[in-house]
Every structure is written in structure tokens, then in C-alpha cells.
Symmetry: C2
Subunit: 408 residues, 2 copies
């Protein structure tokens, strides 16, 4: 958390990962982000992982530092309130972030009629408006068919990280700041649209895989945990752990030979295979022979001994760990890291929560805020942003147009 | 490409994915991004995939629309030129983006002495300055140990997409715009620092996996291509293809039953397992029984028939495809998509290149620019930004301080 964007007010109509992450990133830089959900919650309210009582750690994780407003978006009066919030005056207002299909009256034209300089950022599945989510976009990306071991059946293997949604959320946050920058200079709002499948296509292209097919007429193979075009792989240790060892640069390659005492044998591998192991392509060509030497070296030593041998040498490496090991034993994943703080999450309890990974020298890090309860800020937002009286707010509750944290 | 940021000038000292992607995203919004490399190229100049002639499709992909300056960063006069470029006057100048260790004289304090409102964005491996790259950060993240099938040996499985680097690059671009917004209002520059391992920790936490361990004392298992906490999985078709089928929402779940004609049988599954299949948790609980019915249905039909059965029904699904199928047969991956254009890349030839995935209504999409040749803009940048005479520039070439596209 910091206060860099404290003059911005963003209305978020969202679910799942992408728009919530984008909005949260801006909220963690101080923007007032008002997430509007239907009364009873959005489709992601109970998404896993959940606690034993069914509270969603996922929803809490992706909506930290926001304000929550529960509104009957299925009723005209509810949508009218949403539009009024979006159109409310103020130089930093009039900004909407969404990854949901537009509700009637909340499309760009309607919002622009209500506030001429409105900025609407909208994530769709495909560019033509058809549905696509992280899982279908990933299936189309080519990556699941080059994930996993050589020679396995040609069955796709999905990654578990929702990487396309994460990239999309960060693109949205970046795009929002670019659009707001334009508005602050020109007075002009705009609609900014992005398709999740275009995020995938852009990444596949940027990494060279479209060019690979178009220019080389081929695509990279599945090579398990080996690095493509350089040297890197996982190795088992004597005590049953796994480590990743990498040599991208000549310096890292020399360090690996020195730290393991295998420099002479590795040089002989280069001669045997007639490749220059000081180049990435040479190391990739001879990777199996290199790995055979390193496998034996790693398998003869427990992790602690390997860590000691590599410490301070410039070898690029790291142990694999599961989520439990990461949370319980990795010192980076503790309150000693300024990124993380143990915060009381309403309905769940205290646990370690990350703030924004960026440290701004001119905007000191402040306490990480938890996620709101659904509807926690309904009354406050209606009062502060729209100036509604307590009588008017009570009527909206009574008629089921809005709800507070008690669900009514 | 658009011109939203055309008044910004950013100097990039970078390699590999993260900072280059961040800089390129800003260049594709019109910023002048000057990537400075050592004479002869940076450590990523030949990164795979490469063409048969050894030209890097990866480097070209991640440096589109930038200007390239080749400079002897190992010599004081070279570093002095870099500092002068960074400190050059202009409201939109004085911005640096880097993921390399700071060269002498190019740290924040030195740059601030040269231009008091300088903005420096710096990506490190770990927060303590120790080395970490996408591969080691991923090993530590927990994800490789929940990737792949149930019951396989507990060997980690890396994803192939450099997802942490991609997220880091987009965080940097977002952070740069936030810092520049602050400077344009306050006149104050700043250093912004981010560790790649913190990007990973933030994502693991945001998705609920830190809370899962801390609150539930457990972590999610590896479940192959199954969705965690809902229904989704891959299925084989009669013609040897694979598809991903997902039901996150009640509407998607009903559509799946209707489109396959399996609604009644699926309802019986719910009764047998005594779970409510209208909930995500219920579908997750009964996922194997659901999948058994769907497997048989998919295995009896070729892809075309399945596509026809699902079209317009609201079923959320998509086929798996490899990179070759994506590039050759997916209509989204073609010049018919405004995201992509066939562009002539110097040293490689024409191929399909992505622009920015965001479409800005107020900043029309312009032609995608290819990557520069190394040193292509050395003379132009020295002349335009520093006002050096052709005589001075010739002397810099002669003394090996700068180089042009011919390497000298």
C-alpha cells in the first residue's frame, strides 16, 4: 500500500482474477477502488481455496484494499446507482474497470452520456466477444503441448498458475494509467478494450514462437524441465530434494564448473561433443552429457551441502519447494519481508498477506489492507460519493436495491 | 502501436524478458524507448528461438518499436554518455528502466545528481540483491509441485511460459506510469525497486495459497489438468484431438448438460454422490464421475462435431493446439486480427508480429514497428538527444565508445 494514486476513484465490475488483480494493484497504490457486486455476491465469491467454513481465500486475496458495494444489478434502479457512482463528479472519478459483460445502461455509450470524459477498461474473452477464459486461452496457446517430459504421449499439460489472467490484469492497470494520463492532459475519456486471447497471442509472439513457426517452419519441442536453447535443469539431491540449476551466461557457466569441481570434466564434454560450451547453443546441444555429470554430483550431496558449495560463487540455482515449504520455511515468505504482513481478514482471521511488489521511494509503504466483507462499504459509498441521506439509503435497503455486510 | 505516450523518453538497460517487455509495452504506446546495449550486444542477443542463421526471434520479439544504442558501458566515457542521455532535459525524459546490476555511475544517487527528478525503475532477483531468475523463482513458488498428474512421483514440473518475468515486466510498466504521474504533479522523481521473488510471493498470496497453508494448514494437491475447486478437464476426441471443457458458473454447467444431452445422467451423478452439482464445490467433489460420462461422449465424436454441438450453447470449452496449429490454423493468429501484422524484421524477414493487446478508443492503432538492429539508432540518438556533432560522433566510433549497426 502507498498513496500514489489517492486522488483516483475506480469502479470495478468484475469477477475471478484479471480485473480484480488490476483493480487491486491500483488500490494498493492508494486509489479508491469500489468493487460493485450483485447482492449475495458475484460468481467468484466462493472460489477455492476456501477455509473449512467456506470463506474464499481467493476472493480475499484478489480484493484487498477495495471498498465493497452490494447492489441489485438486475434491477433498473440498481444499475442507475452504479451509473451515478461512475459518473459522479471529481477529476479522479469516472473510471470503470470490468471483465464482465456490460449490464444494460453500463456500456460505454451510456456511461459517456452520463459523464463525457468517462474511461472504461473492458476485458473480453475473444475479440469478437465470444467467451474465453484462462483455461481455454491456455489450451490454444501451444504451451500445454510443450510442457512436461520428452517422449510422453502427446497429452497436453496445463500450468496451474493463471498466468494469462495475471498478465491481463496488469495490462489493464497499465492501460488505465495510460488512459487517465491522456485524460488529465486532454480532457478526453475513452473506452479501452482488450481480449484475453490477444494477451496470449501477444506473449506467444513476443517470445518468438510465432516467428519460429513462420520463419523456421517448426516449433520447439517438449523437453521437460530443461531450458530451451541454454543449460538448465532440475536435479535430485542425496536427501530427496530437487534443485534447479541454470547457466545462462558465461560467468554462470564458469561458476558452475568451479563450484562443483567439474570444470575439467565439463571441458572434456565440450571436446567430445565438438561444441563450444561457452555459448548457450553449445550447452543446449550437450545438455544431456552435462546433466549426467551434474546429476551424479548433486545425488551424492544433501541440499545443505550443495547450498554451501554454491553460496557466493555466482552459480544460479534454487531449490524446489511446495506451498507448505514456501510458507513455513522460506524466509522471503515471512513478515520479515516488507512485502508481507500478518493482517486480520474479516471472516477468516489473521494471515500473511502481500502488498504491492513495487517499492516506491517517494511513496512509503503503508499497512496492507485486507479485503472488505461483501457490502461492507455500501452505505459509506452511497453517502460519500452520491451524497444520499440516511433515509434514502434505508429505503434502498428496504426495497432490496442495495445490501450491507449482513446481506440485506 | 499508438501515440498515447509520445512525450515520454525512457532509457532501458536490460536483458531477457521482464524489463524488455515493460519497455516494449510503453514503446508500443508511443514512448521513445532507447535500449542501451554493450557494443556487440547484451547477454540476451542470441537467445532462442533463433533462425537458421542464428538471428534471435526472441530478441526481436521483446524489443519491437525501440531505438537501439550500442555503447561501451565498460568504459567511463561510455557510461558518461549513458548518464547524459538519462539526464537530458525535457519534461518526459529522465526515466530509466533496468533489470541489470547498476553500472558504476548509473545508480540512483549518481543519476539523481545529474537530473534531480530522475525516475529509476529497477528489477532485482531477490530483495536482498541476490540472484534469482524466472526459473529459480518458479522452483520456489510451489507451482511445479502441483503441476501434472495425480500420483506421479513427487518430481517438479516447470511451466514453459516465463510467467513471472511477464508479470514483472507489466508491473514495471505500470509502476513507471504511476511514478511519472507523481512527478508530473509534484516535480519529484524517485527510485522504484521490485524483486522478482516478490512478484512470485505476491501472486501466490493473492491467489490464496499462502492463506491456505496458514489458515487451513494444508496446500492444494496436484490434480493434473483438473480445475481446483470446480469442474474443468481435458478430454480426448474421436479424431485424436484434445479439448478443455469447463463449468465455472451454474449457467455453463446447465449448458454442458443440455448440449451433450447428458443432463439427466449428470443429475443422477449428483444424487449418487449426494452433492449439489449446481455448486462449484459439488462439481469438484464429483469430478471423476462427471468426467467419466463426458469422456465417453467426447471420445465418440470428432472435434468438428463437438464444436458444432457446443456452438452458441454457452458451453465454455476450447481445443488444445500446438504452436504450429496456433499459427497456421487459428484465425485469431492471423493478420485478420488487428493485434497482428506481417512486418519486415531486419535480419530475419517478414513475419506476423503482435502489437499491444489493448485497444485505446482515443489513440488509434498504428502500424507495428519491428525491433531495431543492434546499434541502429546510435548516431541518431547522440545527435537528437545530446546534440552531438557528426565530428564528435565519428570520434566516438573511432575510439570504440559507440557502435552502429555494422558493429563499429
Amino acid at each position: 500500500m502507498n498513496r500514489l494514486l489517492q486522488d483516483l476513484r475506480i469502479v470495478e465490475l468484475s469477477a475471478f482474477v484479471a480485473a480484480p488483480l488490476g483493480g487491486m494493484s491500483l488500490a494498493q497504490m492508494g486509489a479508491e477502488v469500489i468493487r460493485i457486486d450483485p447482492i449475495g455476491g458475484g460468481i467468484d465469491l466462493n472460489r477455492w481455496p476456501v477455509t473449512k467454513e467456506g470463506a474464499s481465500l481467493y476472493w480475499a486475496g484478489l480484493n484487498k484494499a477495495k471498498r465493497s458495494l452490494a447492489l441489485a444489478l438486475d434491477k433498473p434502479e440498481g444499475r442507475e446507482l452504479a451509473r451515478a457512482l461512475i459518473a459522479a463528479p471529481g477529476a479522479g472519478g469516472g473510471i470503470v474497470l470490468t471483465n464482465l459483460p456490460p449490464a444494460r445502461g453500463l456500456d460505454y455509450a451510456s456511461l459517456k452520456a452520463a459523464r463525457s470524459d468517462v474511461i472504461l477498461l473492458r476485458l473480453t474473452g475473444n475479440r469478437d466477444g465470444s467467451a474465453a477464459v484462462d483455461y481455454t486461452v491456455n489450451a490454444a496457446s501451444g504451451f500445454p503441448l510443450v510442457t512436461g517430459a520428452v517422449g510422453r504421449a502427446a497429452a497436453p499439460l496445463n500450468h496451474v498458475l493463471p498466468a494469462w489472467d495475471i498478465a491481463a490484469g496488469l495490462y489493464l492497470a497499465m492501460g488505465l494509467l495510460a488512459a487517465e494520463r491522456h485524460r488529465s492532459r486532454s480532457g478526453e475519456g475513452q473506452e479501452v478494450v482488450m481480449a484475453l486471447s490477444d494477451v496470449m497471442l501477444a506473449a506467444v509472439g513476443h517470445l518468438g514462437y510465432i516467428g519460429d513457426v513462420e520463419i523456421n517452419g517448426a516449433a520447439r519441442p517438449a523437453i521437460g524441465n530443461d531450458l530451451y536453447g541454454s543449460f538448465g535443469r532440475d536435479f535430485a539431491t542425496a536427501d530427496g530434494r530437487r534443485i534447479m540449476v541454470i547457466a545462462l551466461t558465461p560467468r554462470q557457466w564458469r561458476a558452475l564448473g568451479t563450484a562443483t569441481g567439474l570444470a575439467d570434466k565439463l571441458a572434456t564434454v565440450g571436446e567430445l561433443y565438438e561444441v563450444d560450451l561457452n555459448t548457450e547453443a553449445g550447452r543446449y546441444e550437450a545438455r544431456e552429457a552435462i546433466a549426467a555429470l551434474l546429476s551424479r554430483w548433486c545425488a551424492a550431496r544433501p541440499l545443505d551441502e550443495i547450498a554451501a558449495a554454491f553460496a557466493g560463487t555466482g552459480v544460479l540455482w534454487g531449490p524446489f519447494q511446495d506451498f507448505v515449504e514456501l510458507v513455513r520455511h522460506d524466509p522471503r515468505c515471512s513478515a520479515a519481508n516488507p512485502l508481507l504482513a500478518r493482517v486480520e481478514q474479516p471472516g477468516i482471521g489473521p494471515y500473511l498477506m502481500p502488498g504491492l511488489p513495487l517499492d516506491f521511494g517517494a511513496a512509503p509503504r503503508e499497512a496492507t489492507a485486507p479485503a472488505p466483507r461483501l457490502g461492507e462499504h455500501t452505505d459509506a459509498v452511497l453517502s460519500e460519493v452520491l451524497g444520499l441521506s440516511s433515509g434514502e439509503i434505508a429505503r434502498l435497503h428496504d426495497t432490496g436495491i442495495v445490501a450491507g455486510p449482513d446481506g440485506r
